[in-house]
Amino acid sequence: MPANIVEAQGITKAFGKTQVLKGINLSVPEGTVLALLGPNGAGKTTTVRILTTLLKPDSGTITIAGYNVLREPDKVRSKIGVAGQSVTMDGYLSGLQNMIMIGRLYRFSKKDAKRRGQELIEQFGLTDAATRPVQTYSGGMRRRLDLAASLIAAPPLLFLDEPTTGLDPESRNTAWEVMRSLARDGTTLLLTTQYIEEADQLADTATIIDHGRIITSDTPARLKDELGGERLDITLADPAAIATIPELSEKALPVEIRKGTLSFAIPKGESGLKEVTSIMQRLVNEGVAVENYTLQRPTLEEAFLQLVGTNSSTPAAAEGN
C-alpha cells in the first residue's frame, strides 16, 4: 500500500459549460490532516464528492487506500467515512434507528450494529435523544449524529465537508476536539473549510483551492511565512496627525485594521528591525502621540487573501480578525 492514503492526479470536472475543477492533484499521507481551504464555489465540495465516489470525474486518476475510485468504488466505500454539509439522516427514523440501519448496510451483524450505534450515540452525547425521530433534533444535534454515523465503521480515512459551518462556537470547539482526537488515534482527515483559523488549528497541510485549481499547498506555518515578515500596527491618538508625515502615510499598507490604525509590512530579519526603528523614530521626532503599537505575524487569513486575490470575497475574509 502506498504511503499516501489519498493520491489524486489531474481531476477535472465540468457541470455543463462550467469547468468546476481544472486539474486537481492531491496527496494525503496516512495519519495526517489536510484542510482544503477556499472560498464558496472554489470546488471544495466537488472535490470531496469525487474522492468519496459520489461523483465521477471527467478525467484524472484517484487511488484511495490503495483502491482505484472508479474501478473499485465499494472497496473505497468500506475504507472511508463521509460527513457532508447537508444532514444525511432519515428524519422519520430515530437517531439509533439511523445508526443501526447504517451499521447493517456496512455489513455488521444485527447485534454489532446496535452495540456500535449505541456506543457512538453515547460518545456524542445523544443518549437522551436516541429514540426520538431525527427531525426533532436541533441543527447541532443532527451534525453530531452525522459525524457519529461517519465513524460507524471506524474508517481509516474520514472526509468532512465544512464540518463546522453553521455551528455555534461551543459546538465548533467540541467538533475540533473530536477531530483532534481522531487524528491523534491515527485517522487520516480530509476536511474542507472556508475558515482559515480551522485549517490553522487542525491541519498538517493547508491546501488552498480557488476557481477549480490548487493555488498552493503547505503547512499553515509556512504559508504564513510566504507572506514575508511581520506586520507593525500603530494606533495614533489623533488619526489626523499622520498628515504631518506624508512619507509614512504613503508607506502604510492600504488596509485599515481599526480606525486610526496604520499597518506597515516589515521585512524579515535585520532590515526589518531597522524599518521598525526608523518608523518609530520618525513618529517620536515629529511628536505624534502613539496610543499603542503591536508587531505581529501575518495571519493565515492574510496569506489566503494574498494568494486568492482580494476581489474574491469570502465569509472568512469578511469576518476579519
Partner: protein
C-alpha cells in the same frame, strides 16, 4: 456538545461475509424497514393513502356513478369492487415516484451512496414498502366493500391468488413509477407524474365494460395491463372462469418489472455519473 467523545471505540465490529445475492435482499430489507417506519411516523399519510383514498373511491363509484352505470351485472358492487381493488394498486404505485424523488432531493442519498451497500436496494426498499401499503389498503377496501354490497364467491385459494396478484401489480407499477421519480427533479414534480397512470386506471374495465366505449378506445381498454389485472381479480373473486387473465396479468407484471428495473438502473447511473 458537552463531553468530548473518546474515539475510537473499544471494539470495531467486523463486516460479515456473505454472497452478493444475500446482500441484495438484506439491504432491501433494511431500506424496507425504513420506509415502513416512515409510514407509521406520518399518520396523516397512513390514513389518507391506506384508508381514505380507497374507501372514498368505493363510495364515490358505488353510489355517485353506480346508479347510472349498466354493466349487465345484477349487483354493480360485485362488478365495481374488484376494479377498484386493481385501480388502487396502481394509485398506490404513484407514491413510489414521490418517495424516490424525496430521497433524491434529501441528503440521505449521499449517505447511502457512500456506503458499501447494494444500490438497487435504495429504490427496492421504497418499492417493497409500497407493496405492503397496497396490502394494508386492500384490507380496508375489502371491509368497506362488504358494507356496500360486495358479495364475492371465492374460496381461500382464489382470495389468496387475487390478493397476491393485486400486490404484484402494485409492486410492478411501483418500479416503473419509482424509476420516473428519479427524473422528477422534485417531490412536486413526482406528484404531477401520478397523472400518468390515469389513462390506465380510467380507460379500463374498472367501472364500465370496454365494449361500452367508442371503438377507437376499445382496443386499448381491453388489452392494457390494468384491464387484465381487473378482469383477473374480478373473475377470481366472483367465482368465474379466469380464462387467460391471470396468466396475462403475471406476464404483464413481469414485463413491467423488467422494464422498470432496467429503466431505474439506467436513470440512477445517468443521474449520478
Amino acid at each position: 456538545m458537552q463531553a468530548v467523545p473518546a474515539i475510537p471505540a473499544p471494539s470495531i465490529p467486523q463486516p460479515q461475509r456473505r454472497p452478493g445475492v444475500y446482500w441484495a435482499f438484506a439491504d432491501t430489507w433494511e431500506l424496507f424497514k425504513r420506509s415502513i417506519t416512515q409510514i407509521f411516523r406520518t399518520p396523516a399519510q397512513l390514513v389518507t393513502l391506506v384508508i381514505m383514498q380507497p374507501v372514498l373511491l368505493i363510495i364515490l363509484f358505488r353510489y355517485v356513478f353506480g346508479g347510472a352505470v349498466a354493466t349487465g351485472e345484477s349487483n354493480y358492487a360485485n362488478y365495481l369492487i374488484p376494479g377498484i381493488f386493481a385501480m388502487n394498486s396502481i394509485l398506490v404505485a404513484t407514491v413510489a415516484s414521490v418517495g424516490v424523488a424525496n430521497d433524491m432531493s434529501s441528503g440521505i442519498i449521499d449517505r447511502l451512496r457512500s456506503l458499501p451497500m447494494v444500490k438497487s436496494a435504495i429504490l427496492g426498499g421504497t418499492i417493497l414498502a409500497n407493496a405492503a401499503r397496497c396490502l394494508a389498503a386492500l384490507a380496508a377496501m375489502v371491509a368497506v366493500g362488504y358494507l356496500v354490497g360486495f358479495r364475492p364467491h371465492a374460496g381461500f385459494g382464489r382470495w389468496l391468488a387475487a390478493i397476491g396478484l393485486l400486490v404484484l401489480v402494485s409492486y410492478a407499477f411501483s418500479w416503473l413509477l419509482g424509476a420516473l421519480g428519479l427524473v422528477a427533479g422534485s417531490v412536486e414534480g413526482a406528484q404531477q407524474m401520478g397523472a400518468l397512470v390515469w389513462p390506465f386506471t380510467f380507460v379500463s374495465s374498472a367501472f364500465v365494460t370496454a365494449q361500452s366505449m367508442p371503438g377507437w378506445l376499445q382496443g386499448f381498454a381491453s388489452n392494457q395491463p390494468v384491464t387484465q389485472a381487473i378482469d383477473a381479480t374480478r373473475t377470481l373473486l366472483l367465482g368465474q372462469s379466469v380464462g387467460n387473465h391471470v396468466v396475462l396479468t403475471v406476464i404483464w407484471c413481469a414485463g413491467i418489472v423488467i422494464v422498470g428495473t432496467v429503466l431505474a438502473g439506467f436513470l440512477f447511473r445517468r443521474k449520478f455519473n
